[in-house]
Symmetry: C2
Subunit: 465 residues, 2 copies
């Protein structure tokens, strides 16, 4: 009896869809929207135009079912997809244009596909994608996913003419529960607007309510750039792959062309540490030599910090502006940490603290988290930033209790790879390098808060007398 069997990636995530954020119809409603919106934001930023995103969620009363049948349509002005790309992009798990080393919201190659898969398994209806690249054919595809095989099934493909401007429309039916999900969905869009002030987002909800988040600026942030790996934290598998596909003829050249900020001197020092000749052919290294190189890279402690311009952080000014606009606090201070590295990936942490004004204590820690401009609204207590916040002694900074005072904390991380702990991107893993930056960032903000609070409290004392 052949006891071992195998399943496809789509089948795996279908059977285990709580992993991807489809735990129940309420959560699924949120996840469907956020996955499609994040795809649209990425697509518009890819062509460096202010994103224009329209989301329409309608409730279709379906008497036959006990469940709530919805139709979602998301339209964007992003780069668009060609007729061959549409089935691949949406019909298969682990297909992505974001597997390169560049900062983007998408990272796994399955979010959009899973949203459409969820619609398919709850309604059995095909989904529709209409898209065009700039000055290109408009293609309309009606399709399904063969979940067992992890393959697209195209039911119908139409050519609808030519488009001047690129765009994408995704339409799908699914079983959800908007009533219970509404709060989180609106929070998600509002927080997205805070960190993406250059985007126009329109959401027409099932109750006919129109949520309009107009952009407050035309200024796009500088585009992130495709990066090289930073040598710090690189593992052996990655080193192996880079060596295998390197076009450099020498080991020294390999180091300089495959890692960011490794110049002639650094490469020479690393190779000296590894006791490897500089002119070895990278593709002909033996296992022992690769290990020697790896350990040398591991123990070399004079690599320069990553290239700042690769990433696109919020900036302290934008973070503070967004927080002020949203919460109108008496005090706000954002701090951007210098670039750091984990596992070869550069990252920048930004933290902010706001106090007073319209902030009210809620009996819980008010922590707003963002990763590559995505708001993270679930499982805060498992997030690395939450653990850091819990371990800071806030009384040193004049805060008796985070839960009982009018204080809100903010955290953003930009990276070529956010170390998410869940496929549903709910929270960030406890990576020590990240925790270190979050702590340093919050302490820097807290020191400013302390000065502010002591000034305010001194004035209040004087006023009393």
């Amino acid at each position: 009896e052949p006891k071992l069997s195998e399943i496809s990636a789509a089948d795996f995530f279908y059977r285990n869809r709580s992993l991807a954020g489809f735990d129940n119809p309420v959560r699924a409603t949120y996840t469907v929207i956020r996955e499609l919106v994040e795809n649209s934001l990425d697509a518009a930023e890819e062509r460096n135009v202010p994103p224009k995103i329209m989301i329409s969620l309608s409730f279709l009363r379906d008497r036959k079912t006990g469940g709530n049948l919805y139709r979602i349509i998301v339209r964007d002005n992003g780069v668009g997809l060609g007729s061959e790309e549409i089935p691949k992009a949406f019909g298969r798990v682990f297909v992505s244009s974001k597997y390169r080393l560049i900062q983007s919201r998408g990272t796994f190659g399955l979010g959009g596909t899973m949203a459409l898969l969820y619609g398919q398994i709850t309604t059995h209806r095909p989904f529709r994608v209409i898209s065009a690249r700039a000055r290109s054919t408009i293609t309309e595809v009606m399709m399904k996913i063969d979940i067992k095989k992890n393959e697209p099934v195209v039911l119908e493909k139409k050519n609808l003419g030519t488009a001047n401007n690129p765009f994408t429309v995704v339409e799908s039916y699914f079983e959800g529960d908007y009533g219970k999900a509404r709060r989180k969905i609106v929070d998600y869009l509002r927080q997205t607007a805070i960190v993406t002030p250059y985007a126009d987002i329109i959401f027409l909800d099932p109750d006919g309510v129109l949520y309009f988040f107009p952009r407050s600026t035309d200024e796009m942030p500088p585009r992130p750039k495709e990066a090289l790996y930073h040598p710090k934290g690189v593992d052996l598998e990655l080193l192996h792959r880079l060596l295998q596909r390197s076009r450099a003829n020498t080991l020294k050249g390999f180091l300089k062309t495959n890692f960011q900020r490794v110049g002639d001197k650094t490469a020479a020092e690393v190779l000296k540490l590894a006791r490897l000749p500089e002119n070895l052919n990278p593709r002909k290294l033996g296992d022992e030599e690769i290990r020697a190189l790896y350990y040398a890279i591991r123990s070399y402690d004079r690599f320069i910090a990553p290239d700042y311009t690769v990433l696109s952080p919020l900036s302290e000014r934008l973070f503070e502006e967004g927080i002020k606009k949203e919460l109108q606090p008496d005090f706000v201070r954002a701090v951007q940490r210098p670039p750091s590295v984990y596992g070869g990936h550069p990252f920048i942490v930004e933290t902010a603290i706001a106090y007073g004004g319209r902030i009210r204590p809620t009996g819980e820690i008010q922590l707003y988290r963002f990763a590559n401009r995505i708001p993270l609204l679930y499982d805060a207590a498992s997030d690395v930033s939450y653990h850091v916040v819990k371990n800071i002694n806030w009384s040193l900074y004049g805060i008796k209790s985070l839960e009982e005072e009018p204080i809100a904390l903010f955290f953003h991380i930009a990276s070529t790879k956010i170390p998410f702990k869940t496929v549903g991107k709910e929270f960030i893993a406890n990576v020590p390098e990240v925790a270190h930056e979050v702590e340093a960032g919050f302490r820097a903000c807290a020191r400013e808060l302390k000065l502010y609070l002591s000034k305010v409290r001194r004035r209040a004392l004087i006023a009393k007398k």
Copy 2:
């Protein structure tokens, strides 16, 4: 420029290994051990013998590296694997013998493979598996994983003779941090011993400390059985697949043979609700007819509860015994809920509350969680059971504050599919059917606690006078 690219499942989990519990070297040390131990427990239970598991973790000082190099060896008396099975089982992600509908610890088909993959990427060394099925050839395989292709790479395969009794040995090298992980690892083994009192577990740690968890009983729990899906919560994809591969000649026969506890009368009523003739060929149903059948199954409310004997819960007696042995409380009460269903999967929730004795308040909620006899030691605050516990008004039961009183809460769920929220099996998703059973279970225990506390407090009052 072909902008879409594709990666293998192994490559996906390599790039995103925080998803699978390899966030950092400390967490990775824990995950490597728990994944191999869970495989061994499953394998021994498969042949219905008391598991005998030996774990040896040794620290190999490696001067070349800054990292801590460990060797792990796990040996068990489980069913074993044949020479063709070893490379498949460990060399490929999404390969499993546990994709059937039967309760087991393993469920994803990647835990063991990921543990060995992690060793490979941190040390570049091959790993070794020695195994034999009963009265079969002993095979030793030295192998690696081709991560890009998600395929095994066998370096060496040896025939070491014949074994009377089956066994498996897994040996691998990896970079970890035992010092920081030790506490959690020992907790994991100790809690495993509580819910698996019929297993012998020996752990020899890097400091030379031997942890011995001898079995306290020879009595194996009844084996879970391979189940049929329960109709409640079945989705359209599953219905489609069952219809396609059904050997029944009529729709009525299909319902009776493909779902548990659906007899003649129930099948007839469901088909009447769907307005479908009983004798339709299941394989020839059109989309509209499938949807009609689905909605009828959805709205039919008189399905019998799932078959109890399919699952293997702890039992109230064993749960209480384990808790008494471990915590020596003054009061303990476990409650087993009747079987329930989510998404077609039967499940049984068991809850327990212990009070007093050697339990001390810790300033935090003391919640012990288990799923298919696996202890869950991380991210409690995100777990469905934690949310339920937080939402109960404990003052109704005589408890002022869970954090400040000597009270401990326990939760176990047995199912053909545990709705884990993470690939690292850290916590359970917020599935409403599960939350409902957890709440009912804890309230039942709490009512008994209330009687106990009022009795004890009354006595204390009388004693004072």
